[in-house]
């Protein structure tokens, strides 16, 4: 993320100084990628305004928050602007990859059995996979958040293996390999172009798809 995108959330929150705002306005007039990122952030905020603000369960949230950690602030949503006056003001900021990772995590752990296993899961010492060593730092942080969940899902799938026949297992493994290959491709591309908005979103999407497939397969035997 460059110095401009780092300021987009504050721009939306109208907390920039007059000089910073004018400088960013001038940059936005010439940078389509930043303008598109700003539009995307606006859409997220607009959609958020239409939703109830219901806090998640304490256990769920503490686990996710631990795995996200703190990092570069890009997306910032000022709750005070959207909440009723009776609510207290609270503001949390997350980078785009972090926010996407949070989505991946929450989706992945929505399976009750998997989540139960995660609750007792000790956060491991991270061993970056070979294709993640050179990716931008923010994505290494995302990996730190997502990898334990993916490991747990893989474990759940492995434990579910006896409920699946060999041809189903083979097909699942083949499709996981396809997704892993796509993740590796995206990471290599992102390493060469770390500020590319499309690549960041694309990587987040294929990572989510892997978690989604694992979650789906982990429940196949249960359902059938």
């Amino acid at each position: 993320m460059d110095r401009w995108t780092e300021k987009l959330s504050e721009y939306l929150d109208e907390t920039l100084t007059q000089g910073e705002r004018e400088a960013l306005d001038a940059h936005l007039a010439t940078c389509r990628e930043c303008s598109e990122t700003l539009d995307e952030l606006r859409r997220v905020v607009d959609r958020a305004r239409g939703l109830d603000d219901r806090p998640p369960s304490k256990d769920l949230w503490s686990g996710i928050a631990t795995r996200i950690g703190s990092g570069t602030a890009v997306v910032s949503v000022d709750r005070a602007r959207t909440a009723s006056p009776a609510r207290s003001a609270r503001r949390l900021s997350f980078s785009i990859p972090q926010a996407l990772a949070a989505g991946i995590l929450l989706m992945a752990v929505s399976s009750g059995a998997v989540w139960m296993s995660l609750r007792d899961h000790q956060t491991p010492v991270l061993q970056p996979s070979p294709d993640s060593i050179d990716i931008p730092a923010v994505w290494q942080k995302v990996d730190a958040s997502v990898d334990p969940v993916v490991d747990s899902l893989r474990k759940a799938v492995k434990e579910n293996g006896p409920n699946l026949d060999t041809s189903t297992v083979r097909i699942v493994e083949k499709n996981l390999a396809i997704i892993d290959s796509a993740i590796a491709e995206a990471r290599r591309a992102l390493n060469a172009d770390p500020n590319n908005n499309y690549l960041n979103h694309h990587l987040a999407d294929v990572v989510r798809r892997r978690a989604d497939l694992l979650r789906r397969v982990s429940t196949l035997g249960v359902r059938t």
Partner: protein
């Protein structure tokens, strides 16, 4: 705000503005018709073929371990259940005014293959599930849920909420209307002549959507092509994404749409003249008309094409068409 942010990101597509109403009934005292059952071994009977009367609004719930499920319609308020089971399998049928439940079990150990032919009223909602099961339904005018692990799903008709799932099998849907969710993993998705918001997702297969009339369409695959030939409506949202494949989309001449096309290793190739409003690295943007609708096309490794309705097929080379799937069958 983070809970809200998460909810936004995980939010499923909005329901269709005008989904078909679900019929609700006050639950009456249950009347059970056990066509074939009991623990007595003498109750096992081969080739069940029976017809039960049903009340309008009842749904069919069939769970079959293995064997095909074929459903067609007639104009009677009754369900005919025909199974090709041997006397080693038992077919239990429970009927009440809300649901007709059909289950199979085996005299010895794991259930065996039983194929079903069912004839139902067109208004009857279907909930069909199997493991090694091909599912075919024709003529239904109500909700349909069809889920299989290894098998194809082929539905013609459906109205309301239509949810079709397979793990290793193709999914085909035609002449449906309502809110449509389709997921498979290791095969393609084909949807035609269908009206309503549509979500289609596979990992290893093509997605082909033709004759679609929808405000919101989302199609994703990892290894496959995506073809869309349908409406682009004002304020609509159309999203097509693949990792390794081409994306071909038709855009009517009168469409008001803001287009974002992103590809890392491929080309963007419009079939008609356009004026770019932005071109940054691997992303192209342009606006047609007022730009009311949003169209997003993404392929990491393939080409992106925009053509006029009816032309996308001519320019679609289908280079990835089920290549990996074919290898499975070898």
């Amino acid at each position: 705000m983070l809970p809200i942010l998460l909810a936004v990101m995980l939010q499923t597509p909005a329901p269709s503005p005008n989904p078909a109403p679900r019929v609700r009934h006050v639950r009456p005292p249950k009347v059970v018709v056990r066509v074939d059952g009991g623990d007595d071994d003498t109750q096992y009977k081969a080739n069940v073929d029976t017809t039960v009367a049903v009340t309008r609004g009842a749904r069919l719930d069939l769970n079959n371990f293995g064997g095909d499920i074929t459903v067609k319609v007639w104009d009677k308020s009754a369900v005919r259940i025909s199974a090709d089971n041997s006397d080693r399998e038992r077919v239990d049928i429970d009927v009440d005014q809300q649901v007709v439940t059909v289950r199979t079990s085996s005299r010895y150990g794991a259930p065996h293959m039983v194929s079903f032919d069912l004839t139902v009223p067109a208004w009857m909602a279907l909930d069909l599930e199997g493991t090694y099961t091909d599912i075919t339904a024709t003529g239904i005018a109500s909700d349909i849920t069809a889920t299989t692990v290894q098998g194809d799903v082929d539905v013609t008709g459906g109205s309301g909420h239509i949810s079709l799932n397979s793990t290793s099998g193709s999914v085909k849907l035609a002449k449906a209307q309502g809110r449509i969710d389709i997921v498979t993993v290791n095969d393609g998705i084909t949807v035609s002549d269908t009206k309503g918001d549509l979500s289609a997702e596979t990992t290893n297969g093509d997605v082909e959507l033709t004759g679609i009339d929808a405000d919101n369409v989302s199609a994703t695959t990892i290894n496959g092509d995506i073809t869309y030939d349908g409406t682009i409506k004002d304020a609509g949202h159309y999203s097509f994404s693949t990792n390794n494949g081409d994306v071909s989309v038709s855009v009517p001449q009168t469409a008001n749409v803001a287009v974002t096309a992103s590809t890392f290793n491929g080309d963007f190739d419009p079939c008609f003249p356009i004026t770019m409003t932005g071109s940054h690295k691997h992303r192209f943007t342009f606006t047609l008309g007022t730009g009311s609708a949003k169209l997003e096309m993404e392929s990491f490794g393939g080409d992106l094409k925009i053509c006029r309705p009816g032309e996308v097929g001519k320019h679609h080379n289908g280079r990835n068409s089920n290549k990996e799937k074919d290898e499975d069958n070898e």
